[in-house]
């Protein structure tokens, strides 16, 4: 089949674009920006071809080759990877086109386009990996590119600091992830050595997903839980989950298009994808006892961290005045929803992967749109500060409307109860978030009587609607509050915005059911049921999920929309009508406002206390002291002792033979004495 032979081009073309743009970008129009656009466009077409093939045949595309030692390189395109591929290439393509206009006046264009091409390639590497090590490698390259792009304007000290913070914070997660891989290798090796005592046959790649998934039931359950928790640690770092989310709001220092790439197409979705990719391992991880401590089942941890993050981040989104920062917190919060959805897998099984991925894709469209709208606003007003904006609707109609559409999607506004051929009617954010809250966390609560994830989901939805429309009303309505005369952005930019806005509105409705069925085919349902059994869970079937969701009381069904519309109205009352004075709540005398505006003092804790005071001030400087004064002090001490001794010896060395003879006699006598004493004793 033809597609199998060219799938390697999907990541290879953007890599080639990286090299070419870096080498020749300066001499080309638009800093060589058309090279990555062309490359990613072809990658996108191949991705669609791959999708069509596996959609028609139902057989995933697998290509693998020996790399070195016990490792392989390979490509795996199953339904999960396929939808991700199309999203990444398509959204990244749009963002690249937009960037031609957005970056037009930046002298660093060649470097910009080279790095974004590599960024896309790395993300595609994550998506296509057929083994966990290759996944990790591409994952790290994603981290590298985010470092380079967040620090793109490296002359700005804040940009350089934010880039470093992003890399180091995600690195904490990466180390956990790497530890997980190391332990997984050892566990898989044990499994295979038991089966093949004479030696593991050549061509068995212990880190390949297919090999791992076939042997999950043989892996020691305690190890499995530890491994998946460590993997999740990696996902927490990359996907900005609590407590490793601190880098993401600062990652705004790069160009807005970079933010759009990071938040929509690449990078942050990698963590969610990791959990979805290794979902069979997650679902099979039981709660275990380790050294007297009970470790909860991994998916429970995923659900709680995700739900908490969804709520926690949205509280901070309420008070930010930087337009991009509001969106950054919304990303953290929405990623929390995706994790929450995955965490529901212990009850709803593989449907959890479908819901999470569906929200991921929808989120990519509306978040890319939101960021690019924000970019359009910043481009024309020259400020990030919402307080300096206002009344932009009259000047920037397309930006205003597309941003409204994507805000409606983010807030999850739609029409409850109304379903046409089983598809709910509403913005794409509504369709996917509603599924997570009702068919995910409500069903979960109904089965397990644990209502906490559900509560996280609903509360976060309320806050999301408030901050989203706070942003929109502050920017686009009311009196203009700046001197400059804003203007609409060029057509390459507004065109991209319009495409994304259409997707933000209708993609959810059009694809909900086929999407979930298709992605559901990634894993075999019976196998997932059996694996869930290993963790002591009973997974309920698709029909049962729908059944429970349909029989929910109307209040429950309405709740997500009520909070969404309620939040919108609240924002309208405060920030548009201004019936309630913002200043009376939002000032530093209000302790609640203060703690939110200070972002729960995370900067003080993570940066100043842990990094600077402890790691540098205590560990590093104590090490420096011990090295210079103690370790090296001993060496210098020994040498000065010897030199001092030599000075003494120099005096003994008289050159008079008689003295030497005396000393020799004395020495021999002493030895004889010692020896005779030994005999006596």
């Amino acid at each position: 089949m033809a597609v199998d032979n060219i799938v390697y081009l999907i990541p290879a073309l953007p890599v080639l674009a990286f090299v070419l743009t870096l080498a020749f970008g300066k001499k080309l129009p638009s800093g060589g920006g058309y090279i990555p656009i062309l490359a990613i466009a072809i990658s996108c077409i191949i991705s669609v071809m791959a999708f069509l093939q596996i959609y028609n045949t139902g057989i995933p595309i697998e290509v693998s080759a020996h790399w070195f030692s016990v490792l392989n390189v390979g490509i795996l395109i199953d339904p999960l990877a396929s939808v991700m591929l199309m999203m990444v290439t398509f959204v990244s393509l749009l963002i690249h086109i937009y960037a031609i206009g957005y970056m037009a006046h930046d002298p660093g264009k060649p470097r910009y386009f080279a790095e974004t091409a590599l960024f896309t390639a790395a993300m595609l590497g994550v998506v296509l990996a057929d083994n966990i090590l290759q996944f990790f490698i591409a994952w790290e390259l994603v981290g590298l590119c985010s470092y380079l792009l967040i620090g793109f304007w490296f002359r700005k000290p804040t940009a350089a600091a934010a880039a470093k913070k992003a890399f180091l914070t995600t690195r904490v997660g990466d180390v956990l992830f790497l530890a997980g891989i190391v332990i997984l290798y050892s566990s898989m090796r044990d499994v295979f050595l038991e089966r093949f005592p004479a030696g593991i046959p050549d061509g068995t790649y212990l880190l390949q997903f297919s090999t791992i998934f076939d042997n999950i039931s043989h892996i020691d359950p305690t190890n499995l839980t530890i491994i998946t928790l460590l993997f999740f640690g990696g996902a927490v770092g990359k996907s900005g989950q609590f407590p490793l989310h601190v880098w993401l709001p600062d990652a705004m220092e790069g160009p807005t298009t970079v933010s759009a790439l990071i938040h929509a197409a690449t990078m942050v979705t990698a963590g969610v994808y990791l959990v979805a990719r290794t979902f069979p391992m997650f679902i099979a991880s039981p709660a275990v006892e380790l050294a007297g401590i009970t470790i909860p089942a991994t998916l429970t941890v995923v659900a709680y961290i995700g739900g908490f993050t969804a709520l926690f981040a949205s509280t901070m989104g309420l008070v930010m005045n930087d337009i991009k920062r509001v969106l950054a917190f919304s990303t953290i919060s929405q990623l929390g929803y995706m994790m929450l959805a995955l965490g529901m897998g212990s009850v709803i099984g593989v449907a959890a992967v479908g819901f999470a991925m569906f929200h991921l894709i929808n989120h990519a469209f509306f978040k890319a749109c939101l960021f690019l709208c924000a970019g359009s606003v910043i481009h024309s007003t020259g400020t990030n500060d919402l307080r300096e904006m206002g009344g932009l609707m009259s000047k920037m109609k397309i930006t205003g409307i597309t941003m409204l559409f994507s805000s409606l999607a983010l807030a999850g506004i739609g029409i409850p109860f109304l379903k046409i051929i089983g598809t709910p009617i509403g913005t794409s954010g509504f369709v996917s978030k509603d599924a997570i809250i009702l068919e995910g966390s409500y069903v979960f609560a109904n089965v397990t009587h644990d209502w906490i994830p559900f509560a996280f989901g609903v509360l976060a939805a309320l806050l999301t609607a408030i901050y989203t429309f706070r942003l929109w009303f502050m920017a686009f309505t009311g009196k203009p509050r700046q001197e400059r005369h804003p203007h609409e952005s060029p057509a390459t930019m507004t065109g991209v915005l319009s495409i994304l806005a259409v997707f933000a509105l209708v993609f959810g409705m059009l694809t909900f059911i086929p999407f979930n069925i298709f992605v559901g085919h990634t894993y075999d349902h019976h196998e997932i049921e059996e694996l869930a059994g290993l963790a002591g869970n009973h997974v309920i079937g698709h029909d049962e999920i729908l059944d429970i969701a349909h029989h929910a009381s109307p209040i429950i069904t309405l709740l997500p929309v009520i909070v969404g519309v309620g939040g919108l109205l609240l924002a309208w009352v405060i920030y548009n009508r201004r019936w309630i004075s913002v200043a009376s709540i939002g000032n530093m005398r209000n302790p609640l406002f203060k703690i939110l505006a200070k972002r729960y003092y995370q900067h003080e804790i993570f940066i100043e206390l842990i990094s600077l005071k402890f790691t540098y001030g205590v560990l590093a400087l104590a090490g420096e002291f011990s090295d210079r004064k103690i370790v090296d002090g001993i060496i210098d001490g020994i040498s000065s002792f010897i030199i001092g001794g030599a000075e003494v010896l120099k005096k003994i060395q008289t050159g008079v033979v008689q003295n030497y003879a005396t000393a020799t006699v004395l020495g021999v006598g002493l030895i004889a004495l010692i020896l005779s004493l030994r005999w006596v004793i």
Partner: protein, 493 residues
């Protein structure tokens, strides 16, 4: 292939050194003669590298040469290569010509300078090729002399202290090693200094205490050379004062002699240590993890960029020790690869620091700032080097560290996990240094620096390409190491 190809590779730099020292009048001719002779060695090395066959039995050497020398003592001039040494010989053959190119602008006593680099190269070749312990020791000591002079003549303000400290510290360690060699020679009673014969005879030594004593004496010699905490303090001092070319070769190939000793001599003895084996392994593992963590935090504390890089070398060599300690083929081949990879990476780092020193006359991190603005080429290559050094995948350091960590976890899980604690701090000091030295607004006090000259850029760019090449495709180098480590007696497969 000529019969004495190893001798050719070994002696051409020595002849080149003599020519450079005695017959060149100008800087231009000195560096050209030096470059040509190291380049000939390089070409010959590539030729034997391509002919080399991995997978020959334990102690099976290729391209062997043997000439009787002091027959009463059983001392021969005997050379040969196997999978342990072949890639390291390649490393030495790559680094020296690149260092000579990098030092193209050296104006202080150029003929002596380049001659010393060639002597150093020959000494290191000799260590990696010798199959006779006596010869091994001679080459081992030979490497001290050129580096001593490189530091004490071309060094920084505190060069005398650093040079003497370097010389005496490593020389004392070598003497302990010599005691070990003689003890091995006399207690086996085979009346030869042939390394393969002595290694085979080691297990015949009756007294287990004697075997451990020999092992520890040799171990001490290698330990100081690598160096391993707490015997590392000569290294930062030497680096801080050494000229860039000296630092590149010190970190790039001289330290590798210590690790080479572990693989060549000590690991084959490991299986004969009897009841002491597990304590020795614990000792090695503790030293390794302490080196990794301690040196990493020290690197974080440094204000001098070069000293930071020096401590990072100590930490990276800790991985070599860890992989050796874990004593399974995955960890051992990873450790061997770490040696090879670190040689390439650290060279880029020292070259970057050297360019900064040369161009703005300081390398104290807080005094720098925003250099990327004026020196974009340097910033690019330095970033590549730093990323490689912090273990970014798709670069050679990651392959090595992954193999070491994964392998070590199989036999020494706690130590492997402890070593990983250092990974974040490693990224921390690299990026923090980058941020303060290279990014932010340009510090105008530094004047108008020039970006990389071509003779600086070319070697750095070649090294970066090699780092990426071996990171993406470890290929035959890894294959040689793997075969070499699989056949060590007693190693866990």
């Amino acid at each position: 292939m000529v019969d004495y190809v190893l001798s050719l590779i070994l002696f051409i730099p020595l002849i080149g050194a003599a020519l450079t020292l005695l017959f060149t009048k100008s800087r231009e001719s000195a560096r050209m003669v030096a470059f040509v002779s190291s380049a000939i060695s390089f070409v010959l090395t590539i030729m034997i590298y391509l002919q080399f066959e991995p997978g020959i039995a334990f102690l099976g050497f290729q391209f062997e040469e043997k000439i009787g020398w002091i027959s009463s003592m059983g001392i021969n001039y005997q050379l040969g290569v196997d999978g342990v040494s072949m890639p390291l010989i390649l490393l030495n053959a790559i680094l020296c010509p690149l260092t000579i190119v990098y030092a193209w602008g050296e104006s202080k006593l150029p003929n002596q300078f380049f001659a010393l680099i060639l002597v150093l190269q020959a000494g290191v070749f000799g260590v990696f090729m010798s199959l006779d312990f006596f010869l091994f020791y001679i080459f081992w000591e030979l490497t001290l002399i050129p580096l001593y002079f490189l530091i004490s003549i071309w060094g920084g303000p505190n060069k005398d202290y650093a040079a003497i400290k370097f010389f005496i510290y490593t020389h004392v360690a070598s003497l302990v090693m010599v005691l070990g060699i003689f003890a091995l020679y006399f207690s086996t009673g085979v009346n030869t200094f042939e390394i393969p014969v002595l290694l085979e005879a080691f297990s015949d030594i009756v007294s287990a205490e004697m075997r451990v004593g020999i092992f520890l004496a040799l171990f001490f010699g290698f330990l100081v050379k690598m160096p391993t905490v707490p015997f590392h303090t000569w290294l930062p001092d030497a680096h801080v004062e050494a000229p860039t070319a000296g630092s590149v070769l010190l970190a790039g190939v001289l330290l590798k002699m210590g690790g080479y000793g572990l693989f060549r001599v000590l690991l084959p003895m490991m299986d004969s240590l009897g009841p002491y084996r597990s304590s020795i392994i614990t000792l090695m593992a503790v030293l390794a993890v302490v080196s990794i963590l301690y040196a990493t935090f020290l690197a974080l504390a440094q204000k001098d960029l070069k000293k930071m890089v020096a401590y990072s070398s100590v930490a990276h060599m800790g991985y070599v020790m860890l992989g050796a300690a874990a004593f399974n083929y995955m960890s051992v081949s990873g450790a061997m690869f770490q040696q090879f990879s670190h040689g390439l990476i650290t060279a880029v780092l020292f070259m970057s620091v050297g360019v900064i020193q040369h161009s703005v006359h300081t390398r104290i991190i807080p005094d720098l700032g925003g250099l990327a603005d004026r020196m974009p080429k340097l910033a690019f290559l330095m970033m590549c080097g730093f990323m490689a050094s912090l273990g970014l995948p798709a670069m050679s350091g990651f392959i090595a560290e992954f193999m070491v960590l994964t392998g070590s976890y199989l036999t020494l899980p706690v130590y492997a996990l402890l070593a990983m604690v250092g990974i974040v701090a490693t990224a921390g000091y690299h990026l923090w240094a980058m941020q303060r030295a290279m990014f932010g607004s340009y510090n105008e006090k530094l004047g108008e620096p020039h970006d990389l000259a071509n003779f600086e850029m070319i070697p750095m760019a070649i090294l970066v390409l090699l780092i990426i090449l071996f990171g993406v495709y470890p290929g035959s180098v890894m294959e040689m190491f793997e075969h070499a480590s699989k056949i060590i007696p007693g190693v866990m497969i």
